[in-house]
Symmetry: C2
Subunit: 548 residues, 2 copies
């Protein structure tokens, strides 16, 4: 069967725009004479639509758009259109919607298949909105018996869940049993570092088990914290690749599922994948929320340097403004290094010293703080002055403030609310410090864009004399390993100690993470690139008492 | 049957502390010789425990604490103990936990009943953590056949869900069918204004339908955004009240379920209930996260005045610091009125003018902003200076900053990120402006605590000359009605226009609400007092494109 895989980047909520995109693709691909054009999960509304699904007008608009598509399908009487959309269950009990795959052909719905397995963990809330399918069945279409599934339906592979299977039912096995000759999975499967390989293995396992070609069609694009990497695939019935789509960009290609696969699959380099994910995350956040320029506070440190590089990759140097805001404790090098970075990148650069403002705060507060020693208060005042200045540029010029804090800092609360945490999008929110260095190496792989001085200097907040991060924090390579265990792998401190880490340090990290939840509650939206990010996928109580 | 209803206030995560509280109650109530002591839903761990439920050590600790309770129950061989706890399903497929009622008697578990209906909407995420019960059954205990249910299990009353029944199954009807002679529902049912009456009606309906006495045991206390009002009940089989517990406080009382009810139930006054909810919300947030004092920015407006009154009610005047931070645009009255309020309440009060700091910002930015007219930028700078000063006091003195913005402002984005939105707890986050006035009247019901000047002055942010809120916003009485329809009742603009509101105004409000989602993403945790608050119960996309 000839299938056009439409790896598209829909805008959440923009039903009209998404429909137009689909119709455009239908028109341009029709010259290839495909039997079927396949779009991703919930492609008509964008994934995840969140509580828009609870709006009646939204579901109504979905319906009328599907009806438009029925009409349009008449213009392409040889082409089936398979897309994802929320469909009413038609029942007055239970959640009122299905997460459905809809097959439109010759002016009407030829078949639907609703999603059976509704992910409700980490960032996923599908049981909040959807009822599960009551059954799954194959669909006869042209010369094939299609086994259509939706994202999570394909993820019940016991090999992937060594500890616990989330679901008792395996929809793919059921479709195989029902004699599917071609499997099609429409997905909106978000990226994390390393997921591509897991997904490939998953699909390969299905093929090896059931000996049926498998078409995987994934959404691409950044939607709030989630970045979808695309990487759609078609494997032949022996598990060889007929098509491997690019990561992180829209791609439309017509393939023949009956041929033998000849493409050698190799996963993208992990560091590169994170770089590309962040670039797309920035680009799409801005595009989809109407920003064209950014402003970034350049501290002379590696986090802001990397953020600046990512911004330039995403939206071009002409749209990036870097501001260096030296305080009385900033080193001479910070300004010089920031300037050099800005020159290397060709971005607009300004220096706005904050000492005058800082001293006016101290002057204003001196009576009230009389007799009290300087402490974190004075450090935070500086960070918050910078936050205020960046936001002033945002207000005055309409630039989006990119926040530059990394995951390691955010984890243990080594960051200032309304200070360095200020901004409309957290670029490195889910990037551990050690990965920041790897990304910087990636940036500098061909030539030195991030000045070596920035790469080699000991990390410092420069908020008091001679400060370095390591006065307060464990060395980053150790900290990141502990955080990997504690946050990503949800291991207990006891388990982490057993892996050979120092007990006191592990306990300090665990306590620091738990104690900083109130800060993260107010953190800006941050791009997710690991399997467990802070944010919507990690829901911890704040006014609570526990020690892990 | 003699039942001790233990309307307790557990701390989330504090399994050891909650256990000790239960054991203390067991000891003190034993003199009343009850047959059964009943604690609320998930009382051993506090509700909602959120992702702590995904920690193995947490579930392990629950187990060992239950075992301790087995032993202790031997000291009270005539008393059954019914409490809520997460229990392992013992299955390696599906979610691994039940939300269970556990009946402990004479050293062991006599019976368990798992929750059948798992709320997964608004603020509730139970399908994220729990598997539903596979069956519900009555339990013979002493002379009664107990019909035990957990919170939502009692909420499948078609009368309450005119549009849609969430569940096909009615656990209470099943228990009645199984010949329960006494219904017991353990709950952690959070407060919103007017919910008490709905809940009473719900239980009354069950009793009238099944002619069996009903004991309802609810958690009390503030846990992050949620405030639990308690208000436990016992109705006799005719629907008359045997016991009506107080709202918003712990209460332990032994009742006899076999007597005829003689208490006349009357719901608490709605405005008073919100006042008490907010007081408990402040008190518990502080207690449970280790704060004893607060600092509040007093603007001379009604929001900060009310917040200050609530804080005094919650933690006493000696623990409240009010700071007035006049800018060049503050009226003379603002300082005077704030001072008078502080005097009336007896709280510490300081005036810290921000003009010096403000001018140092303008001076610092004058080159960069040259030729650009003053706009919202300069307004926000002032608000953010205040945020920075309040946070400096928080850092220096260890006080919690209470944020004072109301729901109407937050809804339409009439507030400044990192400015007036700064703080550790948003007291009025879910209180519409018109309700702020009603609460102020409630405060002043006996004597003028909030100066009349504050009550009658036109609301103003005082961030530019002669500014009032109504320059920008619709009149608050209209705005709040539209917001009630749009946010709480999730009506579409079209439906709201049909109710008689001006189309342009409705569309402006809807757009303003949707456009401000990015601000609310970073809002402080705010106390929920209506049926639909911003925050965890309302999940909207940000980088999206839709017009409601």
């Amino acid at each position: 069967m000839k299938i056009t895989i439409a790896q598209i980047n829909p805008i959440v909520g923009d039903i009209q725009g998404n429909l137009e995109k689909m119709v455009g693709i239908l028109s341009s691909t029709s010259k290839d004479k495909p039997d079927l054009v396949v779009f991703p999960e919930l492609s008509l509304v964008g994934y995840p639509p969140k509580d828009l699904l609870e709006r009646e007008w939204f579901i109504q608009k979905t319906k009328t758009s599907l009806q438009k598509l029925f009409k349009i399908s008449n213009d392409y009487p040889d082409i089936g259109i398979l897309l994802g959309a929320p469909l009413s269950t038609g029942k007055d009990t239970g959640k009122g919607l299905y997460n459905s795959a809809v097959l439109i052909y010759q002016g009407k719905i030829l078949a639907t298949q609703h999603k059976s397995l509704l992910p409700t963990y980490d960032v996923f809330d599908e049981s909040r909105y959807f009822a599960p399918a009551s059954e799954i069945h194959t669909i006869k279409f042209k010369d094939e018996i299609l086994g259509i599934s939706i994202c999570e339906d394909a993820w019940n592979d016991p090999e992937l869940w060594p500890k616990r299977k989330f679901y008792a039912f395996d929809p793919i096995a059921q479709l195989a049993k029902d004699k599917a000759t071609l499997m099609i999975n429409i997905s909106s499967s978000p990226f994390f570092m390393g997921k591509e390989e897991i997904r490939y293995k998953l699909i390969e396992n299905h093929v090896k088990k059931h000996k049926v070609p498998f078409v995987f069609v994934n959404q691409v694009g950044g939607n709030d914290e989630l970045i979808f990497d695309g990487r759609s695939l078609c494997l032949d019935k022996e598990g060889e690749s007929i098509a491997v789509f690019p990561c992180f960009k829209e791609h439309i290609q017509t393939i023949d599922t009956s041929v033998r696969g000849k493409i050698k699959y190799a996963p993208q380099d992990k560091v590169e994948s994170v770089y590309e994910a962040l670039v797309l995350g920035i680009y799409d956040y801005m595009r989809k929320s109407g920003f064209s320029k950014v402003v970034i506070g350049l501290s002379g440190g590696i986090d802001s340097a990397l953020t600046c590089c990512l911004a330039v990759s995403a939206i071009g140097k002409q749209n990036v403004l870097g501001i260096c805001m030296p305080s009385p404790y900033s080193s001479e090098g910070s300004i010089k290094d920031s300037k050099k970075l800005a020159q290397n990148l060709g971005v607009d650069f300004r220096v706005i010293p904050i000492s005058g403002i800082y001293h006016s705060y101290l002057e204003t507060l001196k009576t009230d703080f009389k007799g009290k020693l300087p402490d974190v208060t004075e450090e935070n005042i500086q960070a918050r002055i910078r936050g205020n200045i960046l936001m002033a540029f945002s207000n005055k010029l309409g630039h989006l403030v990119l926040s530059t804090g990394n995951k390691s800092e955010l984890a243990v609360g080594y960051c200032t609310l309304y200070g360095d945490m200020a901004g409309g999008l957290g670029v490195l929110t889910d990037v551990p410090k050690t990965l920041v260095y790897k990304l910087a190496d990636f940036v500098n792989r061909k030539s030195e864009i991030i000045p070596q001085e920035i790469v080699v200097k000991p990390p410092s907040a420069e908020l008091k004399p001679n400060q370095t991060d390591q006065d307060t924090l464990p060395p980053y390579d150790v900290l990141d390993q502990i955080l990997q265990c504690f946050v990503e792998e949800v291991k207990s401190p006891e388990e982490i100690v057993k892996l050979g880490f120092d007990r006191k340090m592990v306990q300090w990290v665990a306590n620091a993470v738990d104690r900083s939840e109130y800060k993260r509650k107010q953190a800006t939206l941050g791009l997710k690139v690991t399997s467990k990010a802070f944010g919507v996928g990690r829901r911890m109580p704040i006014a609570a008492k526990f020690e892990e």
